[in-house]
Amino acid sequence: MPFFKTTTKTATALALGLSLVAGAAWAEYPERAVTAIVPFPAGGSTDTMGRAAAEVMSGILGTDIAVTNVGGGAGTVGTAQIARARADGYTIGVIPAAPLINQPHMRETPYGLEDFTYICGLFHSPQALALAPDSPFSSLAEVVDYARANPGQLTYGSPGPGSLPHLAMEQFLDEVGVEISHVPFQGDGPGVTALMGGHIDMYMAIFSNVPRYELNAVAIFADERVAAAPDVPTSIEEGFTTTASWWGGLFGPANMPEDVRATLEDACQQTAESPEFTEILGNLGSFPRFLSSEAVHEAVMQGSETNGAILERVLN
């Protein structure tokens, strides 16, 4: 098993690291640079967001925060690396929810939900359903009615299998009990292109894509309308109950010292409330949303349960 090999690797690194820092006294956290792992490649939404958060947080903590991208496996490789890092608060992760609440239901991951310290929730962006430019529909209800009358005729795209938009759409389809075929793409770029070219009928996307690509959004899956697109109604207004967002926060390996976690949670709250962070996220079409340690733990557990049930149905 390769995992055991990595454990010995970590042990070796640990031994070496310990022998080095042994001389230094245990001062108050943080006394050196913190590494923030982003489990997605450089340049994506998570990465840009993570870098913005690191920039703001390093000012609050008074230490450097170096962002490290560990891409691969729809976020699972980097997430695994966070789970098996030293729980000293010097390695934390900026993770969107999918690798935690979706991927473990799709295959074996070398981590479980108990392998993390839940520091805080930090960001979110509602999801929106966009229609092809020449679509005959003008409201969510029309889409649902047509799909009910013609099961399997319509297609919807998502940025990938097991992504949050995929799961959100399936959850919605579950709610209304209709069938729309899923066509996954590799990220928003190819997916949105296919939508704009009319190759698929609709596309479920993180809201930030709507103003960016001037998409023909028909509903936002949120409780309230978003200022950047005041004309787009919410799913609640349209008479449905599903809401969905792309969200995430800061996580660390399990058993992090309590005071370290509290320091990070506090810094996270200050970050979420800083105008600088709000502005950067605003440009990306997302919003800061602070959740306490317990609240984000609860949200992950609940998300995992809901999405686990959906994935069970969708995949098999």
Binding site: T8, K9, T10, T12, A13, L16, G17, L20, V21, A22, G23, A24, A25, R32, T35, A66, T68
Partner: protein, 161 residues
């Protein structure tokens, strides 16, 4: 060479391809995805490719067995290749857990020596300059921290003692 000329390149190539096919076959065997629609079956494409791959390997093998064209092998200094391959493997393995600087400090002199370079002064100078310099360029210039401890940790540890 022997009396019978053979196209050894094709024979070995064919056998290697067939061997690899057999190895991959264990991964695409019928199983959990049976009865899934073509477009939804993750195994459709790998199976198709593997079939072509194995067929091509068989063709190459037969072609090699039938052909009377001889093989002219390039002269390879196998001992050096083996030495550098083993060193590379050890270095890559140690890179993450041991750390960039110590692994490089060990690798470079060994690599130079095993390739027949014996000027001790140059070896020492190149080794001692390269490892910290690269670490600095990556950690500070590119803000990518190579694995293992770096000079900042070292200095802090020394200072803290």
């Amino acid at each position: 060479m022997g009396a019978v000329q053979r196209d050894h390149e094709s024979i070995i190539g064919g056998v290697a391809v067939l061997g690899l096919s057999a190895l991959l076959y264990s991964q695409v065997m019928p199983g959990q995805f049976d009865g899934v629609a073509l477009a939804r079956n993750p195994m459709t494409v790998p199976r198709f490719l593997l079939a072509l791959f194995a067929l091509g390997g068989a063709y190459l093998l037969v072609r090699g067995l039938v052909s009377r064209a001889g093989t002219t092998w390039p002269a390879v200094a196998w001992r050096k290749v083996l030495a550098i391959a083993v060193l590379a493997a050890a270095y890559f393995w140690a890179f993450d857990p041991i750390g960039f600087i110590p692994a490089t400090l060990v690798l470079l002199p060994l690599a130079f020596l095993s390739l027949g370079y014996r000027n001790p002064l140059v070896i020492a100078a190149v080794t001692l300059i390269t490892a910290p310099l690269l670490w600095y360029v990556f950690a500070e210039g590119f803000s990518i921290r190579p694995p293992g401890f770096g000079m900042d940790d070292l200095l802090r540890a020394l200072g803290g003692m």
